[in-house]
Amino acid sequence: MVALDAAAAAAGLRIGMPAAQAQATVPGLALRPAEPQADAEALERLAVRALRYSPLVAVDASGGLPADGLVLETTGAAHLHGGEEAMLADMVARLARIGITARAAAADHLGAAHAFARRCARPTLVVAPGESRALLEALPLAALRLPAGMPAALHRLGFETIGDLARRPRAPLILRFGPELGRRLDQAFGHVPEPFEPVRPVDLVEVKQGFMEPIGAPETLARYTEKLTLALCAALEAKGLGARRLDLLFHRVDDRIEAVRIGTATPQRDPARLTRLLCAKLETVAPGFGIEEMRLAATLAEPLANRQSVSSLAEEPEADVADLVDTLSNRIGERNIYRLEAVESDVPERAQRRVAALAEEGRRSVPPARWPRPARLLPVPDPIDTIALLPDHPPVGFTWKGVRHRVKRADGPERVFGEWWKRDAETAAVRDYFRVENEAGERFWIYRAGDGADPATGSHRWFLHGFFA
């Protein structure tokens, strides 16, 4: 038995059991021959797909063969996916969609993350910087990637957790169990670096530059970045492609790899523009003792044909802001740059949606709002206390956040029906919106849930929903 699913584990089977015994334990057990070669290839394919999260991805074979995981260096990449928590959740969810149960952990170093991902009960775990040591010490020895048999031998000596081992003098242990034990401990606590060779897709457009003398000065890095970008753009042009995502890798003399990634909203092969985007991120690169090789790869490329620009000489064309959008996307993440587009819905919170900043302008079939709309809308309507005559008078006054407002003028009601064709819960729902102005001239948008007569249409409670200027 090499692997089993959740149902099999629940039935009392274990990895390492002879097949005959397993079949005897669970009658009618479905067995498939193990295919290590196919597994390894599938994992490799997953690693290439995981390049969307970070430029540095590898199949994690460090725990001994067969490889059973992926390792990603996500430093500086997590915020583009909404933070580490969100990124891990997204990974696990994507894998679940293709039928793979996965667990993900983020920690200070590879060794610690390796242990947490395999030992944590939750599907995702983010360990804050500096906190991995305490958590690690509570884990059993098996989390330490030791050679087979060694955890059992240590167990016989009374060592239960990693903490037990770490607190002992190192020399006698190494004398007995060999240097591997010390190396694994140091890797888990991040005392020694643990380089890995990242995967590259096969048909990658890539250019590289090796250096006789390691380089490290920022100006030198910028100069070679420009040279590499020029070479890459020429290679892309030969293939008729434009880059959507560029990864610039810096191989350091101490075997570590620093990476810079940029993305663009549309396929690009303008060297000046790509260089500018890359150079803006160079400050995040720590050259250490020097960099001996730089590689620039277009990890995501799309066809880009030459195109004739149409221009009328008479009027000034509107300036192109695509490069600004790219710069900002690389700074704060693509999903945080957007436009608001009107949606055909009377329910205010659904009347707009986010679209990509450079998306084609919509069909413009949505008519503009007929009645004044508030400049600011509360994400969740706030309950207010009111005194109002039912069914269709505006309130005489209302209390919001402990402050009482006397209504001097008001317009309304504007009746908004629930979208019964979309949601069952809104079959009878009605909101009556009022625009009210207080003595100071502050204008609010408030509504009553329900039509004021029929309890089926709403709770008849009042809410504040927005602010007029």
Partner: protein, 264 residues
């Protein structure tokens, strides 16, 4: 503005020295004579940074300031970058203030530093009509950077100061390098032109066009003033309330106020 020819010449001279190598970006008139008259050059300087705060109790959460800025941005050409930490604007209201939502690119940065960095990037780019940032804090050094960025490209920069607490209403904020600082306070709306008896069955009168008390609290090369105006129409233009338009003393020239001189 009241000035002698000698003072006039001096001002031109000073402006020429100050300008240095940067290009003259021109001005964007409000189309309201009272306001344009007190602004140097006859309008809101393009290629400069302007600050907008909200007056009153702060209950409106910067709605008037946002629409004031939207009205200015609406009258520029090109895309508008709007940098925020948290989205609470309603696109339909921007459209009603003349700013087509299709022109507005929102940049939602995680924190205030990010917001300032984004608007600086937008101001340096030069292809935008206007760049707007909503922030609670803008240190003097940051405002200087933004002002320089705006000067280098000719894009108009608008910073909306959001208040975190309602207590700092009277606070005029820390000094900044912005060319102008405005404070917008909502006033009771214009009366509706309806004879008394036709709507007498209504419990309270209806709401007319919004009115603002617009205070020009600081103006580089000019004097502070305050105005009572009607809010932006669908083209982003302010208007002088009709019953005030006839009263020369009040509306004809913005009331010049004595404001303490503050070195920014």
């Amino acid at each position: 503005m009241r000035m002698s020819p000698a003072l006039d010449r001096l001002r031109v001279e000073i402006r020429r020295i100050e300008a240095g190598e940067r290009r003259e970006a021109g001005v964007l008139p409000f189309g309201v004579e009272a306001i344009d008259r007190v602004l140097p050059g006859g309008g809101l300087a393009l290629g400069a940074l302007h600050e907008v705060t909200e007056g009153g109790t702060g209950a409106l959460d910067g709605a008037a300031a946002a629409l004031f800025a939207a009205g200015i941005a609406a009258r520029t050409k090109g895309k508008v970058l709007w940098c925020i930490t948290r989205q609470d604007l309603f696109a339909q209201a921007l459209a009603q203030a003349g700013l087509d939502p299709a022109r507005v690119i929102f940049a939602e940065a995680g924190d205030e530093k990010g917001v300032l960095a984004c608007i600086e990037e937008g101001l340096r780019h030069g292809g935008l009509g206007a760049a707007v940032a909503e922030t609670a804090r803008m240190p003097l050094a940051a405002s200087r950077r933004l002002q320089l960025a705006a000067e280098s490209s000719g894009t108009v920069g608008l910073v909306l100061r959001r208040r975190r607490r309602s207590t700092d209403a009277a606070d005029t904020g820390p000094p900044s390098a912005a060319a102008t600082r405005w404070r917008i306070t909502a006033l009771p709306s214009s009366p509706l032109p309806v004879p008394g008896n036709s709507f007498s069955s209504l419990p309270v009168p209806g709401i007319g066009r919004s009115r603002w008390h617009v205070e020009l609290m600081r103006c580089r090369g000019g004097e502070g003033a305050d105005f009572e105006v009607e809010a932006c129409d669908a083209q982003g233009r302010l208007a002088v309330p009709s019953e005030l338009a006839d009263r020369q003393a009040e509306a004809g020239r913005g009331q010049i106020r004595d404001l303490p001189i503050r070195v920014a």
